[in-house]
Amino acid sequence: MDRSISVIQLLPLLLKGFGITLLLAAVAIGLGAVFGTLLGSLYAWGGRVVRAVLFMLVTIVRGVPLVVQVFAVFFMLPAYGIKFSAVSSAGIALTLFASFTIMEIVRGGIEVVPKAQMQAALSLGFSYHEAMRTIVLPQALRSMMPSLVNQGVFMVKATSVVSLFGVTEFMYVSKEQIERTLMGFEIMAFVWIAYTIVCYPLTALGRRFEEHLKGRGQTSLAGAGA
C-alpha cells in the first residue's frame, strides 16, 4: 500500500486499459453493425428456411446472459483446439452478441418501411439489392436509430464483463490498481466519469440525428410520411 501517489500518476495505466475498452467496443459495434445489417437484410429477403435458421440463432444467442456467452467463447472454443488471445476472444464474443442484437433491430426497421417503397423502386427497374440499399435501408435507419444508439451505449458498458476473464481492459486495470493502491473512491470516480464521457456523446449524437430527420419531415417512429 502506497498512499503517497495520486490518480494522476496512475493515469497512463488506467487510460491504456480504457483504450482496450474502446477498442473492444469499436470492434463489436463496427463488425456487429456490418454483420447485423447483412443478417437483418438476409432475414427480410430470405425464405422460410433462412428465417428459421436465423430465428434459431437469435434465440440461442439472446437467450443467455452476455457473461455466459463470453464464458462459452473462452472455454468452449479451446476445447476444440481453437485458441485465441484473451482480447481476441473477448472481441469475438462481444461481436457475436452485437451482430445478433443489431440483426433484430435491422429486421424490425426493415419491416416498418412500407412494402410500397420497395415496389415503387422495383417498378422503376431497380434490382432488389439496389432497392434495399438505396431505398429501404436508409428509411429503416430512422426507426432503428434510438435502438441502435442504445445498443452502442450498451456495448461500451458491456465490455466491462470481460474483465472477469483477465482481459486487461479498463475495469480490470482499475480493479488491479484499487487493490494495489487502495484508492477505491478516487479510481472508481475516474472510471465512472470516463465511461460517461464516452456514452453521453453517443446518446447526444443519436438525438442530433433524430432532429435532422425531423427537419425532413421524418420521425423515428413508424408510419411517417406516405
Binding site: 415503387a120 427497374g125 425532413r216 419531415g217
Partner: protein, 251 residues
C-alpha cells in the same frame, strides 16, 4: 405497343384476371374502368410484372413481359431483363409512393443514377427539367412529407418519366386527391397524352377518361365486359356498365 392476350392470373384458388385480351397501340391512351376487385390494378401490375401471371401473354413493344419461351416452355426471364422491362413501362401509384427520405429532385434523379447509370450532376439536370415539366421547379428541394398530395403525385409522374418509358401505367393516380389537386395531376396526364405517350390508365374519373382516352375497357370480375371509344360511357351497351355508371354518378 401493349398486346395482352388471354391473360389469366389468380391468387391461390381465386381468379383475379380471367382471360383478358387487349391492345393498346403506340401513342394512345387506354382507360381501364371497373368496380373494386374487378382486376384493374392487378392488370397494370402484371404489365409492369410486379405480379407474375399464369396464363396468356403480355407483350410490350413486341417483347414478352416477365417470361421467355424455351422450346415452347415458359420460364422466368433473368432478373436483369425483368428490371430492364420494368424501367421501360413505369408505373404511377394511387398512394404516390415517393421515396420519403429523399427530396423531390432526388426522387426523380435516383433511378437515373441507379438504373440508367448516369452521373449524379447529369441526372439532377434531367430531373430538374422533368420537375419543370410537371410545374414543380420551385419545390425541388422539398421532402415528400412537405408536399401536397397533388405535388407528390406530379413528382411521382416525373420520376416515372425520367426513365423515358415506352409506356406509362397509371393506377388510380387521382383517387387519393381532392378535386382541385386531382385537376393538377390530370392536366399533366392530358399533356402527356397529347404528346403521344402511350398510357394505360385505371381511373374513376369518367369525364376525364372521355377526354383523354382513345380506347376504354370496362372490367368486371376479371373480364372485359365492354370496350369501345370515348362515347362508350355516354351510350353503354351492357346492363353492367349502365349500373356501374349510375352508382358512380350518385357517389
Amino acid at each position: 405497343m401493349i398486346e395482352i392476350t388471354a391473360l389469366k392470373k389468380s391468387y391461390d384458388a381465386r381468379t383475379i384476371i380471367d382471360g383478358i385480351t387487349l391492345s393498346v397501340p403506340k401513342g394512345t391512351v387506354c382507360g381501364v374502368l371497373g368496380p373494386s376487385g374487378s382486376g384493374k390494378s392487378t392488370l397494370l401490375r402484371c404489365v409492369n410484372f410486379l405480379e407474375p401471371y399464369e396464363g396468356g401473354e403480355i407483350r410490350v413493344d413486341g417483347e414478352l413481359v416477365g417470361y421467355e419461351l424455351d422450346n415452347g416452355r415458359r420460364a422466368l426471364k433473368p432478373r436483369r431483363e425483368i428490371a430492364r422491362m420494368r424501367s421501360e413501362c413505369c408505373m404511377v401509384f394511387q398512394q404516390f409512393n415517393l421515396f420519403s427520405h429523399m427530396a423531390a429532385l432526388d426522387n426523380v434523379a435516383i433511378a437515373l443514377v441507379k438504373v440508367r447509370g448516369l452521373k449524379a450532376p447529369e441526372a439532377r439536370e434531367k430531373a430538374e427539367a422533368l420537375l419543370a415539366k410537371v410545374g414543380l421547379s420551385n419545390r425541388k428541394d422539398a421532402y415528400p412529407a412537405f408536399l401536397s398530395g397533388g405535388e407528390q403525385q406530379r413528382v411521382a409522374i416525373a420520376r416515372a418519366l425520367a426513365m423515358q418509358p415506352k409506356v406509362l401505367l397509371l393506377d388510380e393516380v387521382t383517387s387519393a386527391l381532392d378535386p382541385e389537386r386531382a385537376a393538377e395531376v390530370l392536366d399533366v396526364i392530358a399533356t402527356l397524352g397529347r404528346e403521344g405517350m402511350t398510357m394505360m390508365m385505371v381511373t374513376h374519373q369518367v369525364h376525364f377518361a372521355r377526354e383523354v382516352c382513345r380506347h376504354m375497357v370496362f372490367l368486371d370480375e376479371g373480364r372485359i365486359v365492354e370496350d369501345g371509344g370515348p362515347d362508350m360511357l355516354a351510350r353503354p351497351k351492357t346492363q353492367r356498365l349502365r349500373s356501374f355508371l349510375r352508382h358512380l354518378r350518385l357517389a
